[in-house]
């Protein structure tokens, strides 16, 4: 620190200026980790879609800072990882240069198997002082079943991935052998290692400047500070008990609909979330492990009480979460979890719905209610290699008290980027024919819900001919085809509106003529087949009769609302729609 400009008699722990300065330094550190990961990675899911995050933890595993590029659900794979490592490895056996790998939700602190976490101890003055961790969603494990977790990919409990700076090759080879696109995996792991190495170096520079004791004291003070801010913000929410229920569906559950619920108690500066009464875990991928539930609730709280609260463990202290083990929101082994975000998105909706009477100005109506994932995998003949392409498609974001919802965006627990068409088509044997907003999908209201998205993808090449579709039992047709898997929700219900606002439209899948139907989220597409995934719109907010006529006219002019829909939803309130 600049000794000519510091006069504060306060100790590091209580000097608010030093703690603020240190907070900025740690944020810089994790942002730089995240950027390194994105820039050095090979797989499009990381390099273009930024499906990754980075964080710094104290020696016990409390989060000190998380990179803002992240999808909030990634926190669910980070908050448990240090504890999982420490459970298996005695501290005295952990050396500088070691790095641990894990992805398992039941033994490794993970939240689903593609999210590979690398965690590296950071030493100062010869003692374990912090942990750097980063997570990358490795878009591998294509074309898997999801009856239970053993079908979903390789499970990795915390294992030593690097020992004193050298990769443990036996482990690396074991992991790569279980991956479908090992070349990408190898390069992505290398980028992950580079990110943690950078964190160790940067932390070392901070220690050299401030000393270990000051680093520890300010880190503790940073968490206390966040806790104070969180408590102050919760105290502004009226005390009471608030409940909400919602209907949940997904392709894997076919006709079955589940009822999800939450009961929230606000008491002074603390929050209690009770998830009693939720359905038991299901034989499908949409189960959430405990850390995923926690990450989801922390996200929802942050959006409702103060979006600028730093992302660290201080935020978690005034929040208590109870969920019965073995339910869809707190599953146990061997429940499958790959599509957990479908459920996570709905937990956020539940929290907003429940707290709507308490903080009506901050909640949003239901968002599109899904993290719509489309997975294409198969053999690319032209390139002579197997490919796995994952994309998540956004949808409507819920209408707000004073503003329409955002059209066609990633909502709540995810915030990944799409893959540019010009990058996608160069890499995979697919053609994107449309990427567009869906008219009449946003729920009407005083403010309108956001619009859903239609994304139409065609498999490259032409259909083999008249005798296609007749499986001859040789499997040749399967080789020719592209495996298509769909994760989504809101196929059977519509995102709800608030305070008189109407629901948004449902999600759906449209196939070109002759293509095989999607069953339990899966089909095989042949060359020339076309699939359109249409994501849900979002709910409206307030009575549609109160919508400003100018806004209705603008929506009609821009083709956001059709004249028919304007007449139906807004009645005589729609000027220029009589013809």
């Amino acid at each position: 620190m600049n000794d000519t400009a510091t006069a504060s008699p306060a100790s590091p722990a209580t000097d608010p200026v030093l703690v603020e300065v240190m907070g900025a330094a740690l944020s810089s550190l994790v942002e730089e980790m995240g950027e390194t990961l994105v820039r050095a990675a090979y797989s499009s899911n990381i390099k273009e879609r930024r499906d990754c995050t980075a964080g710094l933890f104290d020696a016990e595993g409390h989060m000190l800072a998380q990179a803002e590029q992240a999808s909030p659900i990634h926190l669910g794979s980070l908050i448990g990882v240090v504890a999982a490592v420490l459970e298996r490895f005695p501290v005295e056996d952990i050396r500088p240069g070691d790095t641990f790998l894990s992805n398992d939700p039941y033994s490794g602190g993970g939240s689903h198997l593609p999210d590979m976490v690398l965690v590296t101890p950071v030493f100062a003055d010869g003692r374990l002082t912090a942990w750097a961790a980063n997570l990358a969603h490795h878009a591998d494990f294509g074309d898997r079943g999801h009856a239970h977790i053993f079908q979903e990919g390789i499970r990795i409990p915390p294992v030593r991935f690097a020992r004193e700076g050298e990769i443990v090759d036996d482990v690396f080879q074991l992991v790569l052998t279980n991956c479908q696109v090992p070349a990408e995996r190898r390069a992505d792991f290398r980028a992950q290692l580079a990110a943690n190495r950078l964190a160790v170096a940067r932390y070392g520079e901070l220690v050299a400047r401030h000393g270990r004791e000051t680093m520890l004291a300010t880190a503790a003070a940073l968490l206390d500070y966040t806790e104070r801010r969180t408590r102050a913000a919760i105290a502004d929410v009226p005390d009471g008990t608030y409940e909400f229920t919602d209907r949940f569906d997904c392709p894997e559950l076919e006709e079955t609909e589940l009822e999800l619920r939450v009961r929230i108690t606000v008491a002074g500066d603390e929050l209690h979330f009770d998830f009693a009464g939720n359905p038991g875990q299901v034989r499908a991928s949409v189960n959430m492990v405990r850390t995923a539930l926690h990450a989801t609730v922390y996200y929802a709280v942050k959006t409702l009480v103060d979006p600028d609260i730093p992302s660290n463990a201080g935020l978690h202290r005034p929040i208590r979460i109870d969920a019965p083990l073995g339910t869809i929101v707190n599953c146990q082994e061997p429940a499958a979890v790959n599509g957990r975000t479908e459920t996570c998105q709905r937990v956020v909706d539940l929290v907003h719905g429940a707290l709507a009477p308490a903080v009506p100005g901050r909640v949003t109506a239901a968002a599109n209610g899904a993290n719509t994932g489309v997975h294409f995998s198969g053999y690319d003949r032209a390139k002579g290699r197997y490919f796995v392409y994952l994309e998540t498609i956004g949808g409507g974001s819920g209408a707000r008290a004073g503003k329409d919802g955002l059209d066609g965006v990633q909502v709540h627990v995810t915030n990944t980027s799409n893959l540019p068409v010009e990058a996608l088509e160069t890499e995979y044997p697919l053609v994107v024919e449309a990427y567009e907003l869906v008219p009449d999908s946003g729920g009407p209201g005083r403010t309108r819900g956001g619009m859903g998205i239609r994304r139409t993808v065609r498999v490259e090449g032409t259909s083999p001919g008249a005798d296609d579709g007749k499986a001859d039992g040789t499997g040749a047709e399967e080789d020719e085809g592209v495996q298509f898997w769909l994760d989504t929700s809101r196929l059977r219900s519509r995102p709800w509106g608030l305070f008189g606002g109407l629901p948004g439209s449902s999600a759906r899948v449209e196939l070109s003529e002759g293509a095989r139907p999607v069953v339990r989220g899966h089909t095989v597409l042949r060359p020339g087949d076309r699939v359109s995934v249409v994501t849900a719109g979002a709910g409206g907010y307030g009575d549609p009769a109160e919508r400003e006529p100018d806004r209705i006219a603008q929506d009609v002019r821009e083709g956001v609302t059709s004249p028919d829909e304007a007449r139906r939803a807004y009645g005589t309130h729609a000027p220029g729609t009589d013809g």
Binding site: N2, T6, E20, V38, R229
Partner: protein, 686 residues
Amino acid sequence: MTLRIGVDTGGTFTDVVAFDEETGALHVRKVSSTPDDPGLAIVEGLERILEQIGGRTPADVGYFAHGTTVGTNALLTRRGARTGVVTTRGFRDLLELGRGRRPRLYDLQADKPAPFAPRDLRLEVTERVRHDGSIETPLDEDEARAAARTLREAGVEAVAVCLLYSFLRPEHEQRIGEILAEELPGAHISLSSRVLPEFREYERLSTVVTNAYVGPVVAEYLAKLRQRLAERGLRAVPHVTQSNGGIIPFEAAEELPVRMVLSGPSTGVVGAAAICAAAGHPDIITFDMGGTSSDVSLVQGGVPKVTTGMELDGRPVRTPMLDIHTVGAGGGSLARVDAGGHLKVGPASAGADPGPACYGKGSEATVTDADVVLHTLNPAYLLDGRMPVDEQASRAAVARIAERVGLGVEECAHGILRVVTANMARAIRVISVQRGYDPRDYTLVPFGGAGPLHASQLARELGMRTVLVPPTPGAQSALGLLMTDVRADFSRTRIQRVDGERAATAARLGALWAELEQEADAWFDAERIPEADRASERTAELRYAGQNYEIPVPVPGGPLDAAALDTLLETFAAEHRRLYGYDAPGEPVEAVTVRLQAVGSVPQARLPRQEAAGEDASASLTGTREMHLAGEGFVPVPVHRRDALRPGNRVTGPAVIEQMDTTTVLLPGDELTVDAHSNLVITVGD
């Protein structure tokens, strides 16, 4: 024709700098800006500086360059043209969908930037090119014509055309351009294959729409200004700055206005690079601190670092530009205490109105008020006495914050400066540490009204040993206009392996650059730049096959042969190691985009060199003032007048150097020497 003039329009002042080629003298003049009609202040500034020099007329001006934010302002205030868009069928909403992310992770009240073209003016045409450049579906010309007529009836003033893969196969865009020109005579038409022939469709679309949106506004502004200057007797061809730090004639800027929308801070950097290279400091980090924000950038070997784009107000703009990072930390940045009891500074700013408490209109504490409390700023007046300062107002504002964080008033003022310094240091780390450069190897070059005031403390925060304050920190951008070149950028995206057989690869890449060189030659001819003044700089953007971020690698001059290619690949590997800590020998390497920057050199202004006058700086001493030093309290420190300091003079900190538009603070241990060009070179104390 012996005068060279640079005019930079700022929010408050229009700065004019003139370099007299006959005498080598440099003249500086500030006039109040006229935001409603910026040309008024420009013409007034021109006349004032001619008066100041004496005996010259506009006809004696051989060079006239102008820096303006008129394009940027049109974007930020959404006062561009009524704009239509034509896209490939299925993609009219791409402008709104963008990369699919919401603007803020947790703040659900945040909005996406409203598109510059409304949905009903975004039209689709049937056509499709594939990723290999083949045409899958030919252009439906009837649809294109119908779209053009729809846009005409809607009264659009500008149209942007962006089709998939037009960077590979521009014919469909070109044909649509012709149809638009027939149907909408007089409208500004921007083709993405012309504005940005590079891959990634959303970024290209956003850039070409931005170009169309500001096109008519910029064209009108420049045409009016050109006429006005001509009426005053200016004969020189007026030039305007671009985001790449170079200048181009007004006419050229009218076609590609997007290339000037981030030009505001660029010439300040170019000027600093030139001044510092001449002063023997080729590696610098510039720090331009104004009222609401600070711009920082890195210069290595006298050459500013460039980047291929950034976001403006949430919209990507991809054009070659100086890598300047902006942070919301300025003299007017507001201090506050948040709900957790922490002291925060910025990014909210008191701006010029109401401004810091000390100027009498505002009541909230700002960075400037902290400086007034500590007397690092003159607590009585600024701007040579033209601006009175109310010290008690500053103390009262800072005291309100101090009470809430439990600190004394001066301690709190130091706290405000430490927090804002940390924010600025973070910005410098983005352009240095995060790009693999160690700031301790660089000289910090502060300018802007508030830069020299905070530079010494910022240098300490970053471990930097040297600070260089240029002669006219308050008019640095205008001065930079006289120290730059005419520059234009050309590029091609052709994704290809470059680690294979050397001769064939060199031939392929060489052919691409040959195309670009042809374009550059045509441009040189159009600009009437003599052969002798022509130069070009080649860059290849490379990556390991599979990555998606490219690393720009300079390509040395001369023929591109196998040896040159080896060097290129070695440089790439070294850059990869510097940036990411490793390289991947043996893995395939791809070129993505190749670039050529054409440089037409123009005579440069040079700072006058003066005879050394010895170490004794007492002639510049105007007195002392009580300045508050952390841990010591108020102590008397000497105050010097900048314009009375002479080369060779030395001053030891703590001390204050005052000049009309800025104050330089030396902290204890700092050692200042005035160099031969009147720069203040400060060795930072421990």
